[in-house]
Subunit: 136 residues, 2 copies
DNA sequence: TAATATCCTACAAAATTAGTAGGGATTTAT
DNA sequence: ATAAATCCCTACTAATTTTGTAGGATATTA
């Protein structure tokens, strides 16, 4: 399951997607309109910014904007930044890979199945974007 | 990601699948061979039993057996028993559904995307079984 | 220089996960 | 009947992760 933090991230990003092209949006207004705790949201937006998904501007008139079009921001990328791995096991994760102790990867049946599951999930999450979320 | 407990569960079930038809297997021998903490494994096996996946026998010569053929035990069922929901959001879970507060389910774009992702994942996890895990 | 806003570090509370302890209940063998 | 073997139940503890909060530093604008 996605953490609450990740759900907040998606709400904030959807908000920014709707304002895309209209200039910076303040954290505080996202916080209020999306009902997300202000300071928690700050952390989230900084993380997204550090990951290269957002740009920020300080001072009056400042705020956050999406760095690229909502069409180009896919859901898998967002999840990886805030939530972590998408795969069900570390040993089948593309971006957070960790070898498992006691199994031989070439023959491990569990791993094979989890690879298939991962691919099926990724095929969706890498194709769908913020655009898909906001379009009614 | 699957919890460590769930990974233990799969290892224990794969073990039982390999012994399927050969009589009960003791917790202690699963614990040793699969390197799973004994008391923790006890909890896991009782849960699987209470969920109807295993049968147990007490006393000498006792232990656990799969209640049905490894072919009939799919991965989604195991995950739901030990790990919980497979969906990425409570509002798109079939077995652990919870309504989300601030969204209209008919129009929520996030929900639509997560439904598609869930279906893709489930299609794999409901089709693959313990048999698939143990067959080399 | 004052106001506005993001950014940084650190902490704290709550929830979940992982594992342990100790003994009770049931079955089998002697 | 009794002892041994084995699962089963309740409760606790420890570790980790999640969900925040606090307070101020830094940058920008007017």
């Amino acid at each position: 399951m996605l953490s609450k933090k990740t759900q907040y991230a998606f709400r904030a990003l959807a908000h920014l997607a709707l304002e895309y092209g209209k200039g910076p949006v303040k954290i505080s207004s996202i916080s209020i309109e999306q009902r997300i705790p202000l300071k928690f949201l700050e952390n989230i937006l900084v993380e997204l910014k550090n990951a290269g998904m957002l740009e920020s501007k300080k001072g009056k008139g400042g705020g956050y904007v999406l760095k690229t079009s909502p069409k180009k921001i896919d859901l898998a990328t967002v999840i990886r930044i805030i939530n972590g791995p998408i795969a069900l096991l570390p040993c089948v994760s593309l971006n957070f890979y960790e070898k498992c102790k006691d199994c031989d990867e070439r023959t491990c049946g569990m791993r094979k199945m989890m690879l298939i599951a991962r691919d099926a999930t990724l095929k969706v999450l890498e194709k769908k974007t913020l655009e898909d979320i906001i379009k009614e």
